[in-house]
């Protein structure tokens, strides 16, 4: 989502207050429908592929024709499509995403191993970019037209225009290769198995460059949205009221303008999570970060379709769940949405 698109979306209407169960049902239902669509898309997009999954499974390995036949039956490939879909659903409910072609392991297992590093990376990056973006955004808006504003929006837009992988590579070359400040890849120093604080510090050390890359590319949108949002609020009458009451200018901003400007921003922040998570694919690949994005990239090279299908379903589900959480958070934050 582009910076200004999000800004335009600020004007979107919010649902009026409704009772909590109804709200939950509405939002939860929506999330469930989205999840269902992910599941269906995950199934059918990988079924339209040319090529026989049984052949793919056995590629490069020595197998007899009977073995292929047996595998095909086992995978239910000879069943009619609806039946296949049902068994796929059943498997999904049991948490079974199939077996990777390349790794010969349960996709669920592979994903489970990689989930935590990805959450750590994207979570840290999201937190920093949101805090940084919002903070710079409100400041820029407040000082609109100042050198600060120009510098900040200008920088943000430049970073926003940089391809993530390219920026990552250059950061890697400069700070890891050239200056040697940070490790060139991975999550922990291999060959060491630090514990406690040492481990935290080691991981943090490895985290710096990937997080920096992600933050640089995504914070712009938070900055622009927050800036737009605060500018919108800046002409609000209640700020005049606050000033008339004798409030200092910085209090007018922090007590009145920012809390109000934050509200529409919250939804947009959560909407951008999809983009952030998507960015993990390239950043993790550049920095060899052992996460889901890296796994996706590994799945791409063959391509390993069950693995890709699995990462797609998991990535999308994470984002959908986060959005659902966002709706709940929003409800808590905005008194106007509470049951009246």
């Amino acid at each position: 989502m582009s910076v200004t698109e999000t800004a335009a979306a600020l004007e979107e209407e919010r649902p009026r207050g409704s009772t909590l169960p109804r709200y939950l049902a509405l939002k939860g239902g929506g999330a469930l429908v989205s999840l269902a669509m992910v599941v269906v898309l995950g199934f059918f997009s990988f079924r339209v592929l040319p090529g026989d999954p049984a052949i793919n499974m056995t590629r490069g390995r020595r197998v007899s024709a009977e073995e292929v036949e047996r595998l095909r039956a086992e995978m239910g490939l000879d069943d009619p499509l609806p039946l296949q879909f049902l068994s796929y659903l059943g498997d999904l409910f049991r948490g079974d995403l199939g077996v990777s072609y390349v790794y010969r392991r349960e996709v669920t297992e592979l994903i489970a191993e990689r989930l935590a590093p990805t959450l750590l990376l994207t979570g840290t990056a999201a937190l920093i970019s949101v805090v940084l973006g919002l903070w710079l955004g409100q400041k820029s808006a407040w000082r609109r037209g100042s050198l600060f504003d120009k510098t900040q929006t200008g920088l943000a837009l430049v970073f926003w225009s940089v391809p993530t992988f390219w920026l990552g590579l250059i950061l890697l070359l400069v700070f890891a290769g050239g200056l040697g400040w940070f490790p060139t890849g991975g999550m922990v120093t291999p060959g060491t198995d630090p514990t406690g604080l040492a481990r935290v510090l080691d991981v943090a050390h490895h985290l710096v460059l990937p997080v920096l890359t992600m933050v640089a590319v995504v914070y712009a949108q938070y900055l622009m949205v927050m800036r737009a949002s605060v500018l919108e609020e800046m002409t609000s009458d209640y700020l005049t009221t606050a000033r008339a009451k004798g409030l200092r200018e910085d209090l007018v901003r922090t007590r009145h303008a920012v809390p109000n400007a934050l509200l529409p921003t919250v939804t947009l922040i959560f909407l951008t999570i999809g983009g952030l998570v998507g960015g993990a694919v390239t950043v993790e690949t550049v920095f060899s970060w052992p996460g889901l994005g890296y796994l996706t990239f590994q799945g791409l090279s063959a391509p390993d379709l069950p693995l890709l299908q699995g990462t797609f379903v998991v990535f999308s589900s994470i984002v959908i769940v986060m959005n659902f959480v966002a709706e709940l958070v929003y409800r808590v934050l905005d008194p106007r949405l509470k049951a009246s």
Binding site: R16, G17, S18, R22, S236, D237, Y238, T240, T241, A242, R243, A244, K245, G246, L247, R248, R255, H256, P259, N260, L263, L333, D334, P335, R336, S340
Partner: protein, 577 residues
């Protein structure tokens, strides 16, 4: 009024103040032009004028709340101290303790995400006095303030969106009183409010002024509202004061032409001189009254000659089937799982060439009724009949009906597509209905009928290049182009300045007279009904409570609700207080 004569004792004074705004192109827009005005302690002054006359700029200048682009010359004294020379710290201290403002549109002037208590308490914390040192004291003070404006203390926990418009405005007043300021400036405090609520808020305000000896500067475009609260009224135009005087004089016998225009917009119900006399004619009448000439001799000097009781008389009672008939109409809405009955078994007849005023408060269902009559809203039950034929439900079949009954909306700026030229706007209906004949001629004719002449000059204009009155004329021309037999007009003048309002009403009257065009005019303003209608229908909570000729209903109301409405007409408020 005791200290009114000594300038030194003035609570608030503008001395030769000129305020200009820098424009983007480097020029300057002068909003206030050399105004001097002094408000004595305990005085109540009304500041009247149309939009853009500089009255709000005057208000904001008191606490230096104008945007940075504003340039001020002259001096503004609050309690004898010039705000322009105050330090920021001093200014912040003066704000709200010396003078407080009740802002226009309480809807937006309260922070939507903070409770009423926090917002009021904020002022107390900033300007803490010995009486409001502790949180408990402050809470007590909040409760006390809310009590002053007749709100229960429990409402302190409410968020603004949980309050009605009137309650919010009262919270604003309570907040303004928080630090016991000398001066209260009320900027259009009742503009967005319903008539009944407006009366309540004005009650509270004038009660406080009376009981607490406050100095009040109130700003409004509505002379009668000002007259209801203020001793003196100052009329502004183009940044200058054009007339100043006691309220009765300003309202009753204005001297300046502009004041007359303002005054004419708010007729006194029951005054036969203002019955079906609008626009230039009404102004002329006021001028005549001021100069002592006989009132009847308003003459056809300018604008529309009045047609006193003419229309009503020519259209004899129930000659044929009514042009429009509403039978037992019910309209329900569903919102958030709840059913709301907007129109509740309403029956109504409109004859050809008759102007019927549908009067009611906001939320009484009058707009829904209009939309249903126009076929824009599907009725839950009941029927709308046009010349005795029920309205078809199919869209295609409705098309013919829509040609016959046309719609004039409240806000002309919004009811024209800002990107379409006047020509396109007027021709839109012609194109939809594929009417035969030369489109250009028809458009020109319609514009001429709507008194936009010469029409060619207006073809290429876009709405933003037109004045409010001209825009409404374009809307009317668009309707006329289809040669309708009836108009439904929803608050046709509510968003227009007073001086323009009369002209549009005059146009409606002329169309009735010359084209025999009847209209259902929806309004909250009984004065408007008195101005132009043949018949008045009063609507309350979805039901029609009274229906009859104007004189009968307004001068001898039968229903309690009609009486309540008449009571809160601003021109009568002053008498009541």
């Amino acid at each position: 009024m005791s200290g009114a004569q000594q300038p030194a004792g003035a609570a608030l004074e503008w001395r030769d103040v000129t305020i200009g705004y820098r424009r983007g192109d480097g020029g300057e827009l002068v909003a206030v032009d050399g105004v001097s005005l002094s408000v004595p302690r305990g005085g109540t002054v009304g500041l009247a004028g149309e939009s853009g006359c500089g009255k709000s700029t005057m208000a904001m200048s008191v606490l230096r709340l104008l945007p940075r682009s504003a340039r001020i010359t002259g001096s503004i004294l609050v309690g004898g101290e010039d705000v322009a020379t105050m330090s920021w710290g001093r200014l912040r201290a003066v704000r709200w303790t010396e003078a407080a403002i009740v802002f226009q549109g309480a809807m937006h002037s309260l922070n939507p995400v903070r409770t009423v208590r926090r917002q009021i308490r904020e002022a107390l914390e900033l300007h803490s006095s010995p009486a409001t040192r502790t949180p408990a004291q402050r809470d007590a003070r909040v409760a006390e303030l809310l009590a002053l404006v007749d709100l229960p203390a429990a409402r302190a926990e409410a968020y603004p969106h949980e309050l009605s418009g009137g309650q919010k405005q009262r919270v604003m007043i309570a907040m303004a009183l928080a630090c016991d300021p000398e001066v209260i400036i009320a900027d259009e405090p009742t503009t967005a409010l319903d008539v009944v609520v407006q009366a309540q808020v004005l009650d509270v305000l004038s009660g406080l002024v009376r009981d607490r000896g406050l100095t009040l500067v109130m700003i409004s475009h509505d002379l009668s509202v000002l007259a209801a609260v203020c001793e003196r009224i100052v009329v502004m135009r183009h940044g200058r004061i054009v007339e100043e005087g006691p309220s009765e004089q300003i309202l009753g016998s204005p001297r300046h032409e502009h004041t007359r225009e303002l005054a004419a917009a708010f007729p006194v119900i029951g005054d036969p001189g203002s019955r079906r006399v609008v626009g230039r004619a009404a102004v002329t009448r006021l001028r005549a009254r001021e100069s002592g000439a006989p009132e009847e001799d308003g003459g056809p000097a300018a604008g529309v000659p009045a047609a006193p009781d003419g229309a009503a008389a020519t259209h004899a009672e129930d000659t044929a089937t009514p042009l429009l008939e509403v039978r037992d109409l019910v309209v329900d809405f569903r919102s958030r799982g709840q059913h709301v009955r907007a129109v509740d078994h309403v029956s109504l007849r409109c004859r050809a060439g008759e102007i019927v005023a549908l009067v009611g408060q906001s939320g009484s269902g009058k707009t829904t009724l209009a939309r249903t009559v126009l076929g824009l809203q599907r009725p839950t039950s009941g029927q709308v009949l046009h010349r005795g034929v029920p309205l078809p439900t199919a869209r295609a079949a409705l098309k013919a009906y829509r040609r016959a009954v046309q719609f004039v909306l409240q806000d002309p700026s919004a009811s024209l597509n800002p990107k379409h030229t006047v020509y396109e706007a007027v021709a839109e209906g012609l194109r939809i209905h594929r009417l035969p004949g030369d489109e250009r001629e028809r458009v020109a004719a319609a514009l001429t009928q709507a008194e936009l002449t010469p029409p060619e000059q207006f073809f290429a204009r876009i709405p933003q290049e037109l004045s409010g009155g001209q825009r409404q004329r374009v809307v009317i021309a668009g309707a006329l182009a289809l040669e309708p037999s009836f108009l439904v007009a929803d608050e046709p003048v509510a968003s227009l300045d007073a001086s323009v309002r009369g002209e549009i009403l005059a146009l409606l009257l002329r169309l009735q007279r010359e084209l025999g065009l009847g209209a259902l005019v929806i309004t909250h303003d009984l004065g408007l009904a008195w101005n132009i209608a043949d018949r008045v229908v009063v609507m309350h909570q979805g039901r029609l409570v009274e229906d009859g000729p104007v004189e009968q209903v307004l001068l001898d109301p039968q229903h309690d609700y009609t009486r309540t409405l008449l009571d809160v007409v601003p021109s009568r408020l002053g008498a009541r207080l």
